[in-house]
Symmetry: C2
Subunit: 268 residues, 2 copies
DNA sequence: GTGCATTTGTCCGTATGTATG
DNA sequence: ACATACATACGGACAAATGCA
């Protein structure tokens, strides 16, 4: 057999990862199938691929970081994570669902129309950290009100959604109540004289934090590749009144924007 | 010494990764400093953290996947990757750089205004793969023309940019020439009667592919956390005429969108 | 409820390949 | 040619979590 460092022996973990990724995509280890989405043990899989258990663990670790499987220590094995693909459309915040007839977009909207709910994780007042404070134009040490939520789609925790507002704007309002504010943050801010007129979205790749792993029901130490979507909302006087941080883990979540050429246009 | 599996010994790799991440952010191992961005060897760092060389290698591997350091085998060690943060503004494609006075946005635009160039990696005609073909509305087996580019910012390969157009639209045009088309793809398509009027952007987290690693000057086997930005462009008849795939690796790259409340509005 | 077997999580030390200088 | 140092993978070991008898 090819020993450890021989040329053909290299990248065995990577090729096994690719093969497992493909098998998961193809539908082996299906949740509805008898296996309940269970993967064989690292030892068994390792024999299949001619890998040691440690190396097979690395394969599984790769899959976990890609968000494809979920693992727990103990006699439980790895299971395929039942993500439902979520299409996130930031522009719906402003557009009152105008009738789009564009095939791609309507198609995506339909896919996103699946039922979903959300859970409030916490509502607190705390000193703004450097990044959030700068975006909200706060002085150092000034406080923000924070609502941390987790979105549940098809009974699976799918994304976290943290909303930051300067405390002076919402202190004493029902936005601070630890229940769901049915009419939404934007409506509350509008009632307080800060109707959202403009928003700037910043998107970056990063890994989930340990805190987010808990909220998303992932193993605490297993980070997952994610997109961070940081939105700064401005009112009619163009003052920043809200920062929202969404964390969308896993490869199945998609953020979609539509752009159009401005109407008053004379040809370039 | 705390032996292998003792409670305090757990997550030592993770905490070392976090510490190294912070040290890099804080500016240890600076490129301008005497070390030229060189990290100490895995052995030396391992002694510092009380980790074996193998475990320290895993720490460095984590940092590499986050895009913070770059490694090459051989007697070279790991060096801090000199990413220059790039702000990517898809909306500039349509907006003729109208005078924005918004602090956040202008600030970001300024940061993005750094000089950059691009290199053509290849210009080919090939059968469309399933995903691209579906977006362009092609029949199976139909061909697309592909321009693969790499953007260079401050002499560092920063992002890849692949443009797909149905071959029948641009066959024989100078878009197929393997040089830079100074006036840009959009202008060429406009000349051919397919002026871009609308675009749909889809953003997803994923890892760089082996091919992209080569183009970005990364080690072939070391994937990096990235955002994939897939744009479908539609002409005035709302037919899809172009798909662009951008891969933005590393935590320093940011994609920014601005959203505004539509002008004709009567209160919700 | 308790104890045991299973399985993952984590890390060590070692060995070989390979690229760099 | 040689030393250095990363890349990869092995076997072994212990802790912790889980499931089951």
């Amino acid at each position: 057999m090819t020993t450890m460092g021989s040329p053909e022996a290299k990248w065995r973990v990577d090729t096994a990862t690719a093969d497992m990724r493909e098998r998961i995509r193809a539908g082996d280890f299906r949740p509805d199938d008898g296996s309940q989405g269970q993967l064989p043990t690292a030892n068994t899989l390792g024999e299949h691929y001619g890998l040691s258990r440690v190396s097979m663990n690395n394969v599984i670790k790769n899959l976990r970081e890609e968000g494809l499987v979920e693992t727990r220590s103990g006699n439980r094995g790895a299971i395929v994570r039942p993500w439902t693909p979520v299409i996130f459309l930031p522009q719906q915040e402003f557009e009152a669902s105008a009738g789009h007839n564009a095939d791609l977009l309507t198609q995506l909207v339909e896919a996103a129309a699946r039922g979903g709910s959300s859970r409030i994780d916490s509502v607190t007042a705390e000193p703004a950290d450097e990044r959030i404070g700068a975006k909200l134009g706060l002085r150092p040490g000034e406080h923000v009100a924070v609502r941390r939520r987790t979105s549940i789609v098809d009974e699976v925790a799918t994304l976290t959604d943290d909303s930051y507002v300067p405390l002076r704007l919402v202190d004493g309002s029902d936005w601070m109540d630890p229940g769901n504010v049915a009419r939404g943050t934007n409506q509350v801010l509008a009632e307080l004289g800060h109707k959202l007129e403009r928003a700037v979205d910043e998107l970056r790749p990063r890994y989930t934090t340990a805190e987010e792993n808990v909220r998303l029901g992932l193993s605490p130490s297993g980070s997952v590749n994610a997109i961070e979507l940081l939105t700064t909302g401005f009112d009619s006087e163009d003052l920043p009144v809200q920062v929202t941080m969404l964390t969308l883990p896993g490869p199945r979540n998609t953020v979609v924007y539509e752009r159009r050429r401005p109407l008053p246009e004379a040809g370039e």
